[in-house]
Amino acid sequence: MRNTLLELKDIEAGYGVFRVLHGVSLEVGKGEIVALVGPNGAGKTTTLKTIAGLTNLFKGEIVFDGLRINDVPPHNRIRKGLALVPEGRGIFAPLTVLENLYLGAYHEEARQKLNDSLEMVFTIFPRLKERKNQIAGTLSGGESQMLAIGRALMSRPKILLLDEPSLGLAPKVVSELFEIFKRLNDEWKVTLLLVEQHVKNSLEISHRAYVMESGKIVLEGESSVLIDDERLRKAYLII
């Protein structure tokens, strides 16, 4: 039996009065890597933003770590252990690398562990240490993504929500990144909900996966099973 960390129950959510998600249910267990894939415009980003509290939630329930968090404002969700690495990274470009990392540890509990967390992040991403006093806007694409992930880790999250972290990165950097996800999960025991375009890579490193289309979950299961699914192989040209 899975030890559930995050559960979405029949979620309808969107922007303003416009609904994007039409009854999404999904579950992430403690220690899992769960992939969420699907075509552009399917509602993957909206799903992650809904978990972070950045959309209008019309119906359904979000339960995190045993608590219903529907009404918890976004700035209090990170305290509870939810960290979103947003699409496009959301780096504070005019601030330094170190200042960006500090911001990840803004809430009190994380602030107390600031130095430990910094050491952890610099162990995982040594390149951030070399560049800690640099203006974040001058980092390369891969380094920015590492900063975005490092910043999220500074909050000591129970779950990391990653929105297309490999977008716009060179193939070599992408495989490096997927290695890091596995390491985060294995060594640092971080639970991951991963939205990705690299379907094959994601299915290879994840335990389970959901496929989303037009605001609905259309397929779900063990990643090792899904990777051989005919429909999926056709739709995403997995060879």
Partner: protein
């Protein structure tokens, strides 16, 4: 007849003193704009209102206007908070035109209130200890102007320290850049807005006290302060305190020189002429990045 070098030097010095006070005024405006994206067209009118308050208090208590900042700063901070909650917060997500209408409206109300209460005559306070002149031969330094310049610089640097060296400053800069991601960091963006707006208005309370140590209150100074500070912000480019101070000094000196060499009436217009010329040659401002 050519003006004497002493006269020019005196004028530049007065411009520098004025410039530092301008930087204090521009700081609050630029913070509110930089963090919240709100152009506060009533900013100058808060200084006007503060100047009258200082006039009343200083006369009533027979004390120096500079001491009145102990009352005006906290009072204006609270007024700023109240205005944010009741008037600014509801229009935060709205179109720029609505936001402009709201702050222009506040300024208009304040100006008409002052006209009704105090009529259009200028009012000044008799300064006490600050009304001394230090005679240095070529130039003489008005102590009130020197002290107000010094205090302005001190506060501007203090705010700079707050922004660059503290957690709340870090949160303010993050919010200015990207509110949504800032909220993901655990920053309560609404609280940051409340703080920044209150601070911006609170600083006008201080500026008013310092202004009244040598200036006058009249219902229209708000408009001149408001426009001047916009020129300063446009020249300096948003962001850096050093650019803000430099452009404040430039505007102060230009204004003071035209007042001495041409005429006081022209001195109000000249900074705008310079502003338009800068826009031609450096649209990003004198110190702004491309």
């Amino acid at each position: 007849m050519l003006p004497s070098p002493g006269l020019i030097f005196q004028s530049v010095l007065d411009g520098v003193f004025l410039g530092f006070l301008y930087s204090l005024i521009a700081l609050g405006l630029s913070l509110v704009f930089g963090v919240m994206g709100i152009i506060n067209f009533a900013h100058g009118d808060f200084i006007m209102l503060g100047s009258y308050l200082v006039w009343i208090l200083a006369n009533g208590l027979r004390s120096d206007p500079s001491f009145m900042s102990l009352a005006t700063v906290p009072l204006f901070f609270v007024i700023g908070a109240a205005i944010y909650m009741t008037i600014i917060r509801p229009v935060l997500g709205k179109e720029p035109l609505i936001q402009i209408a709201v702050t222009v409206g506040i300024g208009y109300v304040l100006q008409n209130f002052a006209l009704m209460m105090f009529r259009a005559e200028p009012r000044a306070v008799q300064t006490t200890y600050l009304n001394l002149y230090l005679n240095l031969g070529v130039v003489s330094i008005h102590l009130a102007k020197l002290i107000s310049a010094f205090l302005s610089l001190l506060i501007v640097l203090g705010v700079h320290y707050l922004l660059t060296k503290t957690w709340v400053g870090l949160a303010i800069r993050a919010t200015a850049y990207d509110r949504e991601v800032a909220s993901l960091m655990g920053i309560n963006v609404g609280k940051i807005f409340l703080l920044v707006f209150s601070l911006g208005i609170g600083l006008t309370g201080l500026a008013a006290s310092l202004w009244m140590t040598f200036g006058q209150a009249d219902p229209y100074i708000g408009s001149s302060f408001g426009l001047l500070t916009w020129v300063i912000i446009a020249l300096g480019g948003l962001g850096g305190v050093s650019g803000l101070i430099a452009s404040s000094l430039i505007v102060g000196i230009i204004q003071s020189l035209t007042m001495t060499l041409v005429s006081p009436t022209v001195s109000l217009a000249i900074p705008y002429v310079v502003f338009i010329m800068v826009l031609w040659f450096r649209p990003q401002g004198l110190f702004g990045k491309v």
